[in-house]
């Protein structure tokens, strides 16, 4: 969609420390110019999604439901998208070049870091951190996640189809930055078109393999994907993919890496899936970070009916929004406008011990028992049942015929355990 004339760019768009603003009200910025610098190693810079004037720096509503330090940029006569001349040329990363094969690993990683690239699958973990594994953890495999993280979301599929070349270049760059000989792109078997295209494009690099995997939720979860593709099992938290020699990156991230390294484009736009029955024209749109939700709703034909719930992210793990006056952030993989019919109120009933939750849990936990322990307040028992290992994928609550709040109780239990730990150490 066209660039909006006003963007609200939160500075907390990734896991880790928020970025620190380096612009002030009244500054003129070029498209792509850095407006905030990383606030630590696990952090990422933020760039201006549009050219214009900074009109506000301060707390604004964040999709997460809390106020967050943000930079508001408004397009101005002569510098906006409508301008024909006089606009400053878009800012590009210095040092980027199509000749990336000559760059060193450190140079590549630095470029990726400066481009503000974070995992676009939804977790928004800064990419350069994943590319800098601690010494002593040898990495031998790069896994590219082309399995859609959640139902309803199709943005990864579109990226694989429409930006095949960028994805493959990105994979090759990531491979080089990590120094691994092999990469596997895992795509769900119901996307033969994407598999075929990627396969063709990968023909020139024999270190990349495209593998079809089973269609099931949560195949797109890191640990599940690694297991499906390699048979390796990532140990429970704090175990990371690193521990089994694997780094996982999303296909959208790979495409962003390619754009950053070859063309110097910082990460200031992404593909978002807009869907749900309440939106008139469900679609995948490429939007600038910071675009207000209402602009996207208008672009997608407006609302077909009043939404009962608006979810940012996927239906299983996404967050429901309290307000439509929030912007798209780097982690926004989807915007789902659900009608009342699609997400009815859930009243939990007693567990009938059908065993489905435990059977469905990708981590082989017993959600019913964990939830029961949390309900009666027996946190130690919940911990003994591995509550901390739950990745909160929501499968158990989705499948439970009694509509029990399984993952919800797990989250509550985790929060209580966290509180308890802090109290004890205090």
């Amino acid at each position: 969609m066209p660039a909006p004339c006003r963007v609200v760019v939160p500075l907390r768009q990734h896991l880790g420390a928020p970025a620190k603003a380096i612009v002030a009200v009244g500054d003129r910025v070029a498209e792509g110019q850095p407006i905030a610098e990383p606030g630590g190693f696990v952090s990422a810079p933020v760039h201006a999604p549009i050219a214009g004037e900074v009109t506000f720096v301060g707390p604004r509503a964040h999709p997460g439901g809390f106020p967050c330090e943000s930079v508001v940029i408004e397009a101005r006569d002569g510098v906006g998208p409508a301008a024909t001349d006089g606009a400053p040329p878009p800012w590009r990363l210095p040092g980027a070049s199509a000749d990336w094969e000559r760059m060193t690993r450190a140079e590549l990683t630095a470029l990726i870091r400066e481009a503000g690239i974070v995992g676009l699958g939804g977790a928004a973990f800064p990419t350069h951190v994943k590319l800098s594994p601690p010494a002593g953890k040898p990495i031998d495999l790069l896994v590219i996640n082309g399995a859609e993280c959640e139902p309803f979301l199709t943005c990864d599929h579109r990226v694989m189809l429409e930006e095949t070349a960028a994805v493959v270049t990105g994979v090759r760059i990531l491979k080089r930055a990590l120094g691994v000989p092999r990469a596997i792109i895992g795509v769900e078997g119901n996307k033969p078109d994407a598999i075929a295209r990627l396969g063709e494009a990968c023909a020139l690099d024999d270190g990349i393999e495209v593998v079809a995997c089973r269609v099931k939720y949560p195949q797109g979860a890191e640990k599940q994907l690694i297991n499906a593709l390699t048979g390796r099992e990532v140990p429970p938290p704090p175990g990371l993919p690193l521990d089994v020699g694997v780094v996982v990156q999303n296909v959208g991230t790979a495409a962003a890496v390619a754009r950053a390294v070859t063309a110097g484009l910082p990460l200031y736009e992404r593909v978002v899936t807009v869907s749900g029955s309440a939106i008139a024209r469900p679609s995948n749109v490429r939007v600038r970070i910071g675009t207000p939700l209402r602009d996207i709703i208008d672009f997608c034909g407006g609302l077909a009916s009043p939404p009962a719930k608006v979810v940012m992210g996927g239906p299983m793990m996404g967050a429901s929004l309290t307000d439509l006056d929030v912007p798209v952030v780097k982690a926004t993989s989807g915007l789902l406008f659900f009608t009342r019919h699609e997400c009815p109120d859930s009243t939990p009933h007693a567990c009938i011990r059908c065993g489905r939750c435990g059977e469905a849990c990708p981590l082989c936990l017993q959600p019913s028992e964990i939830a029961l322990r949390v309900e009666i307040g027996d946190l130690d028992a919940a911990q003994a049942l591995h509550i901390q290992e739950c990745m909160e994928c929501g499968t158990c609550a989705y499948i439970c015929p009694s509509n029990r709040w399984l993952v919800q109780q797990v989250r509550l239990g985790k929060a209580k355990l966290h509180d308890r730990k802090q109290q004890r150490s205090a």
Partner: protein, 359 residues
């Protein structure tokens, strides 16, 4: 949030604000907020229970064919009594649940199918009270019970009124039996009953009669074929899984087959007749698989089924009662918490962790 966005300094926008004629886009729709997941699967408890109820119907209809009015009476009264008692319990005891969850209807139909067609109304009422009040609501209502309600009631009635519980009508006696009718001459013993009394030579029913239900027995247990049809539907709908029935029936076949092979046909019944006779199919497909009272893990269910099969065979071959399915299932119900405790599944990733630690 609203306040902060209103308080923001507004520069002159370059383009006009979004058109206001779109539904809700510029207005502020009331949004509901809740934790994820935001979608829910199609399966619900009433749906599961309704399927079980439907799956029991073929067998119920077969017995209406063979036993006529008596079967209709037993099945209807039992279902209505159970629903009535459930309603009272829900009102008076305030345990969780609702009539609309169909669980009481399933219990009622199952209870009726576990009674002989000659059962008088007061026997059925007593059964309904034991099933719903004692076995279910005293344990906390749906989901809290340890023992299968219908089976608990059946066993209670069997030990309290053994004669009433073992007066089996001959198939084809479809007429209405007024209270006090002399039943002599229109009743017969079940194959397992004959076996227990050592009158195996009098057994006339063959495998095909057992399949179709052309023999004396409880209202719902006579036709193995009809039960299989219902069970197939449940398996296909994934409402029950194969573990318990397979382990249950397999073990019964294995143990009785062994006894038959060693002890000879004079003293023992052939394994295929054991499998088809009595309440085995009803028990294995519809009662042992009761989710509330069987182990929660699928691996545990294999053990549970095998245990049921072993106990059933032992009771049938050497116990005091001709039929052991009900006792076997109830005993294994009692063992369920233990099976669950010892068979916790291995958490994902823990194997590699252990490998890593030891290597």
């Amino acid at each position: 949030m609203t306040a902060s966005s209103n308080a923001a300094p507004e520069g002159a926008p370059v383009s006009a604000p979004p058109p206001a004629d779109k539904v809700g886009a510029s207005a502020r729709p009331t949004l509901r907020v809740g934790p994820s997941p935001h979608l829910h699967g199609p399966e619900t408890v009433p749906r599961i229970m309704r399927w079980v109820f439907l799956a029991l119907l073929p067998a119920a209809l077969v017995s209406v064919w063979f036993f006529g009015a008596s079967a209709v009476k037993v099945l209807t009264l039992s279902t209505l009594f159970c629903l009535g008692v459930e309603w009272l319990c829900l009102r008076l005891m305030r345990t969780p649940g609702a009539l609309s969850d169909w669980s009481a209807a399933v219990t009622g139909l199952l209870l009726g199918m576990n009674l002989p067609p000659t059962a008088p109304w007061w026997l059925i009422l007593a059964g309904a009270i034991v099933a719903i009040v004692v076995a279910k609501h005293l344990f906390g209502g749906l989901g809290g019970n340890i023992f299968n309600p219908a089976l608990t009631a059946r066993v209670f009635l069997l030990v309290s009124w053994p004669t009433y519980m073992t007066t089996w009508l001959k198939p084809g006696q479809r007429q209405w039996l007024a209270p006090g009718t002399d039943l002599a001459g229109i009743t017969e013993a079940t194959p397992l009953g004959l076996l227990k009394e050592g009158r195996l030579s009098e057994l006339s029913a063959g495998a095909s009669d057992l399949l179709l239900g052309n023999l004396g027995g409880s209202v719902g247990e006579i036709s193995a074929l009809a039960l299989l049809i219902g069970a197939a539907a449940l398996l296909w709908k994934r409402i029950i899984t194969w573990e318990i029935p397979a382990a249950f029936i397999g073990t019964v076949a294995a143990v009785t087959g062994l006894a038959y092979a060693i002890g000879g046909p004079e003293r023992y019944l052939a394994p295929h007749l054991h499998v088809l006779a009595g309440g085995l199919f009803l028990g294995a497909f519809f009662m042992a698989t009761d989710m509330v009272t069987c182990p929660i893990t699928y691996r545990g269910r294999l053990i549970f089924g095998a245990g049921c099969g072993l106990l059933t065979a032992v009771i049938r071959l050497w116990g005091g009662y001709p039929e052991g399915v009900s006792f076997a299932i109830l005993l294994m119900n009692a063992g369920t918490p233990m099976i669950d405790h010892y068979l916790r599944p291995r958490t994902f990733g823990t194997a590699t962790a252990r490998q890593g630690a030891t290597s």
